[in-house]
């Protein structure tokens, strides 16, 4: 076996020397029969096919793609994990305070911590939410925090996803699959359970109900429908939560309440776990031609007759420009030092930082504040001189619209191939749930892995796969 990586590897220091987290696993692995592992690997694919785990439907042809699954677990020890939990908890709480403030008093702007133009001109800032506090003062019930390791054992936060983060179903399916594939291995380790995610999700959704007296509020999961790329996850979660999976056409506002169309007629809904974006929620308040939402929903919401999770307008806090202010946000609302670090980010809206960015474009990755999916991006080390000078002008024209980060070398983890273990870059999405100022972080999370050699792109749409993530109990 030759195992070679230029960047930080989570399992091997070098070919002959294994890091503590992986010692037990690698010695187990070395005792396995090659043919048996090949068979287990193909069994894994079968499991996923049979359960219908898929992420993207109806591209050019009517096809569902499976997210490739790698059978080698990613292992994190309890000490590292405890720090992550504290750090994520801190971020999630601070974000909720920030949202409460930004839609009411805006103390953080008055105190000069965040420039007003970052908020005012931001499309993720919803005017419809100003002066309104959501039921139970909770905005970000469900967060997906993306973390990476670079060249040391420390995790950095890459993104806070508090709009409609997905991936929890894959985390659970991955664990189910590992237990089917390697029952003996998993019982030998003390791996913390992650499949209780849906239990906690159910609890926080119940707690978020606007009607305090109701023991069993009527909760629904709102999906754009079966052609949505994450439909599998929507159906999976509705099933595990024991709630109705609804589309906009199943819902209607009647007498100031939200109702769903049942076989016995209309029935009131208390909580919507929505998996559609803000702008589609209500054609009367947002995008007029949306068929995915419910006309009049926002009015019901403003009357506190329904809870929407996550609250509309949370996007203002996970925006790329606000991201760079999260450490300041933590200090401002919690008076604490941030536990988890951000990836170094240069705000082009600040004079000195802009100067540095313009002088070092060939080393940096520049992103549009509102861009996503790799659009409007400059990858300095790969760009031509002409591209760089063109981009320079774009930044100068509207510096507030850009941030820059150094090119990151994500850590690697071993994946299984027929030729043996080989390193690939990974990231980690952790799921945090918030209710009544209490945060629950599910043990582990979803490790995404770039399956192509050398690739840093972990996105499932571009050849990324996933792994089970093991947090070892102490």
């Amino acid at each position: 076996m030759t195992y070679f990586t230029k960047t930080y590897d989570e399992a091997f220091i070098n070919q002959d020397s294994i890091r503590t987290n992986y010692k037990k696993f690698i010695s187990w692995y070395k005792n396995q029969d090659d043919n048996e592992l090949t068979k287990i690997n193909s069994d894994a694919i079968k499991f996923f096919e049979n359960t219908g785990v898929s992420f993207k439907v109806y591209s050019s042809e009517k096809k569902e793609n499976l997210i490739p699954f790698d059978i080698i677990p990613r292992i994190i020890n309890s000490k590292e994990w405890d720090k992550l939990v504290k750090g994520i908890t801190q971020r999630v709480l601070a974000i909720n305070f920030f949202l409460t403030d930004i839609y009411s008093q805006q103390e953080i702007i008055k105190n000069g911590v965040i420039p007003v133009n970052l908020i005012q001109n931001n499309p993720a800032f919803l005017k419809q939410m100003i002066g309104f506090t959501p039921p139970n003062k909770t905005y970000n019930h469900i967060s997906g925090i993306d973390l990476i390791k670079t060249n040391s054992d420390n995790f950095f936060v890459l993104e806070d996803n508090v709009r409609v983060p997905s991936g929890a179903s894959y985390m659970i399916e991955n664990r189910d699959t590992m237990i089917k594939l390697f029952p003996d291995l998993i019982s030998r380790y003390k791996v913390s359970e992650n499949r209780n995610y849906t239990k906690y999700l159910s609890e926080i959704l119940k707690k978020s109900s606007p009607k305090k007296t109701k023991i069993n509020p009527n909760i629904v999961l709102l999906t754009p429908g079966i052609y949505n790329s994450a439909f599998f996850e929507h159906a999976f979660l509705a099933d595990k939560l024991g709630v109705e999976l609804v589309e906009g056409k199943d819902l209607r506002v009647i007498n100031k309440y939200l109702n769903m169309k049942t076989i016995d007629g209309w029935k009131k809904v208390d909580v919507i776990y929505r998996r559609i974006d803000d702008i589609f929620l209500d054609p009367l308040s947002f995008k007029e031609d949306s068929f995915l939402g419910v006309p009049g929903l926002m009015e019901v919401y403003r009357n506190k007759n329904v809870t929407i999770a996550n609250a509309p307008g949370t996007g203002i806090s996970d925006d790329k420009s606000i991201y760079s202010y999260i450490p300041d946000i933590i200090k401002f609302y919690l008076g604490q030092k941030p536990i988890l670090k951000n990836v170094k980010t240069f705000k082009c809206g600040i004079k000195d930082e802009l100067k540095y960015v313009l002088e070092n474009l060939n080393k940096l990755v520049v992103k549009e504040v509102h861009g996503s999916g790799g659009y409007g991006m400059l990858v300095g080390p790969l760009a031509s001189k002409i591209e760089i000078s063109k981009f320079k002008n774009k930044i100068k024209k509207n510096p507030y619209n850009y941030i820059a980060q150094p090119t990151l070398s994500l850590s690697t983890c071993p994946i299984y191939t027929k030729k043996g273990l080989t390193p690939r870059h990974v990231d980690l999405r952790c799921f945090a749930l918030l209710a009544q100022e209490k945060v629950t972080v599910t043990s582990g999370g979803l490790t995404r892995v770039a399956l192509k050699k050398g690739s840093l792109v972990v996105n499932s749409s571009q050849g990324g796969g996933t792994k089970d993530t093991w947090i070892l109990s102490s």
Binding site: E49, N50, D239, E244, K261, I263
Partner: protein, 308 residues
């Protein structure tokens, strides 16, 4: 329970039942083909008419070639009721109601869909037809097994069964309708080629030949076959059995309020008509009216339970 979920469950099971029924017919035709039977053409003609696809098939084909017909029924995109389309629709409805069925039921449907897609997208080889039919029927049995053993006995299950029995009634009444002349009183009948063999084929096309023979001391007679398919309460594909099951499930959904509902009243009406019928079947309009009533009943159900 959402109206749209009831809709998906109902149609999921209509399509699953339709797959099973279509396969039975293909199998009965294929058996004759293997025996090079002289009745082969008549049989395929009846099967195509039962499925209302004769016209579509003959647009493309000049003769009733067995393998062409089988291919047409299994996978030809020009046939909107081909097996691939039916299983696709069944699975799509299962996906929509994924939160209401157990993961076992879902996986059973999904695996059936995966299997048929893999097998039917290859060139269909004569030697594999029986294997495909057998394996698919086993997979469908698995769906019903998990449904029966693992699901709560509540309205979710009721809608699955409503779809199943409305569809099964439709299938049996179509078969009877297509071949009603075979079932007329023997004294009155003047039909060329009439013989027991064709009665046998009716039974085979719904996989009920053995059970008929077992019940009737190995003797095939037109009136007995028609009684068996229409009025025998023990026979799971008979019209009376299907409508009884429909009534049972409607009662269970409506709880105590069933007596005023259109669907329930219409189902009772069908039951009454069948009971009143003399054992000797002698008119086409009787079957045709049952066929129409069943369509109305399905529409009543869709309307009453707020399907979409």
């Amino acid at each position: 329970m959402l109206g749209s979920t009831a809709d998906s469950l109902f149609w999921m099971f209509r399509y699953i039942e339709r797959v099973e029924n279509t396969l039975c017919m293909i199998e009965s035709g294929f058996q004759l083909y293997l025996l090079s039977s002289s009745n082969l053409n008549n049989e395929w003609d009846a099967i195509l008419r039962t499925n209302s696809i004769r016209h579509h098939f003959l647009k493309k084909n000049n003769s009733l070639d067995s393998l062409n017909i089988i291919n047409f029924m299994l996978k030809d995109p020009k046939n909107f009721n081909n097996i691939l389309i039916l299983i696709e629709k069944a699975r799509e409805n299962a996906r929509r109601s994924r939160g209401s069925i157990t993961s076992e039921v879902w996986e059973a449907i999904n695996t059936c869909w995966l299997y048929l897609n893999e097998e039917l997208n290859k060139k269909i080889n004569e030697s594999k037809i029986q294997t495909i039919i057998k394996n698919t029927r086993e997979k469908i049995a698995l769906i019903f097994g998990f449904l029966e053993r693992g699901m709560l006995k509540n309205e979710i299950l009721n809608f699955c069964y409503l779809g199943t029995f409305i569809e099964r009634f439709d299938n049996t009444v179509r078969i009877l309708n297509t071949r009603y002349y075979l079932l007329l009183d023997e004294k009155k009948i003047r039909f060329e080629g009439y013989d027991n063999f064709q009665l046998e084929m009716i039974l085979r096309s719904i996989s009920s030949y053995r059970s008929f023979m077992w019940k009737n001391q190995n003797e095939i007679k037109a009136n007995k076959v028609s009684y068996f398919l229409i009025s025998d309460k023990d026979m799971p594909k008979s019209l009376i059995f299907c409508v009884n099951e429909t009534i049972k499930n409607l009662r269970s959904i409506h709880k105590k309020k069933f007596s005023k509902n259109k669907s329930y009243l219409n189902a009772l009406n069908i039951q009454k008509k069948i009971k009143q019928k003399n054992r000797n079947l002698n008119n086409y309009s009787f079957l045709n009216s049952l066929f129409q009533l069943n369509i109305t009943l399905a529409a009543n159900i869709e309307e009453e339970f707020n399907f979409q």
